[in-house]
């Protein structure tokens, strides 16, 4: 094994310090503050939560609606993945599903709410199309639709990926053994996917439970824990200590979820060897699943379509003459242009430094023998557990009086830490698959460690690096829950500005800004995809 060199130690020290200061310390402070009251350290903050009826109702509401979202999302994501992997549905439709499903990921969740309002509201596009309103959208129904839109893409990505590791040969074997349809389905599809399906459920639950954007826009009078927390922290009578206690409360299901995920990991199994086997013909299966998947996809399109229509007409839905006025308004407002610029700067810095951090951490963990590398896995587990809002509040508590307050740096750092887990795991996965003798070989051929990393390891993980970059960039563009407590007038980003515009009912501006985010993300995504493809061709 490679020797631990000075440069490896140096990188390790930097990364550990980064997480100590920007993850561990803030959480410790949060925890301490949650016990602080004017009478010293007591548990009265917690007692006041437990006796506060409104708050308890909101927690219960959150649990209810998040569970329901998780069930719906997991089923839908499974159906879509099944259609793509195990049916003979026409290829273009499969392609459309795989791309279309990702649309919500390109937008801030706070936009979802406004899109739903403009689609299903009394004057909404879909309401008009069908000539009647379906249901009351403010509150439970709207939230449910929003959460499903939000959690469907990640749940789909998770399940779809696992589908690739199911050996189709076993379906043939099961059929030959005389299994009936249900038994065959349970044994060859549900059983291998069981861990993943559980994972998708937990992921959807946690995402819904901790999201702030959707309830902020369409929650109505249905109170959930995220909006309650915001009220306590930044409402008319801010109470930081009480807020800290609520944040700790919010952590509980997240911690629980992480343990559940680890338990579910046991159910995952991998076939040693995958064989390509042709799928059996089954016309009924293809038609039914084709229709179901298309309807899911069309619903997503339908809900977001309004977002692109409304800002292009004079005053939706009353005056439908075409106009660019709302766009020119935004571009002429130096305030909004600046906000957009801020967002792009924050996203670029986050993507750059986030990718660097996650890549180095994974490199140390997988490809060096340094002592204490387990710490990096622990950091990644913690960042996976801590909801953005909780991280944001703990930053607010710790850095409120420091010079970091109101800087881009704190927003970038918060976002890097908040979204650390996925890019870190991406890098770990890719780096561990590479031959572990490369560094040694490089050294024997006269390279320094850095040189081998630059000449060999990075070129071979280039497409993963791009993926990490686009993941960080897109999430930094759309995140609101992590940064809502950290932005100031000068460091405002688009997602937080939308929250402000909502206050003044400037929905056209909201949509124009959302479209800007959408296309910026789309552009970065396509650019990264292009470079990845070129790389693949090149190799």
């Amino acid at each position: 094994m490679l020797k631990v060199k000075l440069e490896i130690r140096a990188i390790y020290t930097i990364i550990v310090c980064l997480f100590a200061i920007f993850l561990i310390l803030p959480l410790v402070v949060l925890f301490i503050r949650s016990f602080e009251t004017s009478q010293g350290f007591t548990i009265s903050n917690y007692l006041s939560i437990l006796t506060n009826n409104d708050l308890m109702v909101s927690i219960w509401n959150s649990i209810k609606i998040s569970s329901l979202t998780a069930v719906i999302t997991t089923i839908l994501a499974f159906l879509l993945s099944y259609t793509i992997n195990f049916t003979r549905v026409t290829r273009p439709l499969k392609g459309a599903i795989q791309i279309g499903i990702l649309i919500p990921m390109l937008l801030p969740t706070i936009t979802y709410g406004f899109a739903i309002m403009y689609s299903f509201g009394n004057q909404g596009l879909l309401t008009k199309l069908f000539g009647r309103s379906f249901f009351e959208i403010y509150g439970f129904n709207g939230l449910l639709i929003g959460y499903c839109l939000y959690t469907l893409p990640p749940a789909f990505l998770l399940i779809n990926n696992s589908f690739k590791y199911i050996d189709k040969k076993f379906i043939i074997v099961s059929k030959l053994m005389g299994d009936r349809t249900l038994r065959s389905f349970m044994n060859t599809i549900i059983r291998p996917l069981w861990g993943t399906l559980g994972g998708a459920f937990v992921l959807s639950f946690i995402l819904s439970f901790t999201d702030f954007g959707i309830p902020a826009s369409i929650g109505g009078s249905y109170s959930v824990v995220a909006t309650q927390l915001y009220q306590v922290m930044l409402g008319s009578i801010p109470d930081f200590n009480n807020g800290a206690a609520i944040a700790v409360f919010m952590l509980i299901p997240a911690v629980f979820a992480v343990f559940l995920l680890q338990y579910l990991e046991k159910f995952n199994f991998h076939y040693d060897k995958l064989s390509e086997v042709e799928l059996l013909q089954n016309r009924a299966r293809d038609v039914v699943l084709g229709i179901l998947s298309s309807s899911v996809l069309l619903s997503i399109f339908a809900i977001f379509a309004i977002m692109f229509v409304a800002p292009l007409v004079n005053s939706y839905p009353y005056d439908l003459t075409f106009t660019f006025k709302h766009f020119t308004d935004v571009f002429q407002s130096s305030d909004l242009v600046n906000v957009y610029k801020n967002s792009v700067i924050v996203a670029l810095l986050t993507a750059l430094f986030g990718t660097l951090t996650a890549f180095c951490a994974a490199l140390l963990n997988v490809r060096t023998p340094i002592k204490g590398k387990e710490a990096l896995d622990i950091f990644s587990m913690i960042t996976n557990t801590v909801p953005g809002m909780v991280l944001g509040i703990s930053y607010l508590l710790l850095f409120n009086n420091s010079s970091l307050k109101g800087t881009f740096a704190i927003i970038v750092l918060c976002t890097i830490i908040h979204y650390f887990t996925t890019p870190y795991l991406m890098a770990k996965n890719s780096l561990s698959k590479m031959n572990l003798s490369w560094e040694m070989t490089g050294e024997l051929l006269g390279d320094s460690w850095f040189k081998t990393i630059r000449r060999v390891v990075i070129p071979n993980s280039f497409s993963t690096v791009l993926e990490m970059f686009s993941y960080y960039f897109m999430n930094a563009m759309v995140t609101i829950s992590g940064i809502i407590f950290l932005v100031t007038a000068t460091t405002s980003v688009v997602a937080s500005k939308i929250k402000e515009l909502q206050h003044f009912a400037k929905f056209n501006k909201v949509f124009v800004l959302s479209i800007l985010i959408f296309f910026t993300n789309l552009f970065v995504k396509l650019l990264c995809d292009y470079f990845q493809k070129r790389r693949l061709k090149h190799n």
Binding site: W438, M440, L444, G446, V456, N460, N539
Partner: protein, 250 residues
């Protein structure tokens, strides 16, 4: 000449190697033969400079190498799985080390190595397009062009199939001869060891069981281990092959 004097190594109190005393002449092929866990790979890593020994000395051409770091020993290794860089083609892999030390070989010499290993038709191929034997030769070329003083090969034949195995064996022999290159090979296969090398070091439980030429080992096994584990295997193999052929020609 490569000398090992009384080399010993422990991992957590467990003796992995002890009393390793050995002389290898320049240009000789020596196989380190032993079952899994016998310590042969540890010895290879000690010679390479990757693993620190607890006691003993390694002396190369009169110079004590014991504390010289891996990079400065001038030895080089070809790994069992070759560790070729997949983003570079065969030629770029071969010249990888030359980018660090340009003066190492002339253009003409480089071409000679490539010709010698029969790699001319494969230079522009990607690593994924090469067969096992071709990968092995590319890895050999990449190592040879750095002009190592001692060539170490870790299970060089284990990933190859039948016919290729024999041709790579010949290739390794001719390399050692052509470049007068001391070559040390780790293997667990007695047949491989005895047909490929000038001398064999049989290691059992961290100790030298026997060190000698193939002739000496076959005719004068020095202990029960060599008899039971090394010769027995060969005898069974011989019997099987005799059976096969006598059946066919009976």
């Amino acid at each position: 000449m490569l000398e090992m004097q009384n080399i010993g190594k422990k991992y957590d109190q467990k003796v992995v190697l002890e009393n390793i005393d050995l002389e290898i002449k320049t240009g000789e092929i020596v196989s380190l033969l032993g079952p899994s866990g016998s310590g042969k790979t540890t010895l290879l890593n000690i010679i390479l400079g990757l693993t620190q020994m607890d006691q003993g000395k390694i002396i190369f051409n009169g110079k004590d190498m014991s504390t010289v770091p891996m990079k400065k020993r001038g030895f080089n290794i070809v790994f069992q799985d070759y560790a070729l860089f997949p983003h570079l083609n065969a030629y770029e892999n071969i010249i990888y080390g030359l980018k660090n030390k340009k003066e190492l070989v002339t253009k003409k010499e480089l071409q000679e190595y490539i010709d010698f290993l029969g790699l001319n038709p494969h230079l522009n191929k990607k690593i994924g397009e090469l067969s096992g034997g071709q990968k092995q030769r590319v890895a050999l070329a990449r190592t040879l062009v750095t002009k190592p003083e001692v060539l170490l090969l870790d299970e060089p034949l284990s990933a190859l199939d039948g016919v290729i195995k024999e041709s790579i064996k010949e290739r390794i022999k001719s390399i050692a001869k052509e470049f007068d290159l001391t070559t040390i090979i780790v293997t667990h296969d007695p047949e491989e060891a005895l047909t490929l090398s000038d001398k064999i070091l049989i290691i059992n439980q961290g100790n030298i069981s026997q060190f000698g030429t193939p002739f000496e080992i076959i005719n004068r096994p020095s202990n029960e281990f060599v008899k039971n584990f090394i010769l027995k295997q060969l005898e069974i193999k011989r019997q099987n092959i005799y059976n096969l052929f006598s059946e066919k020609y009976a």
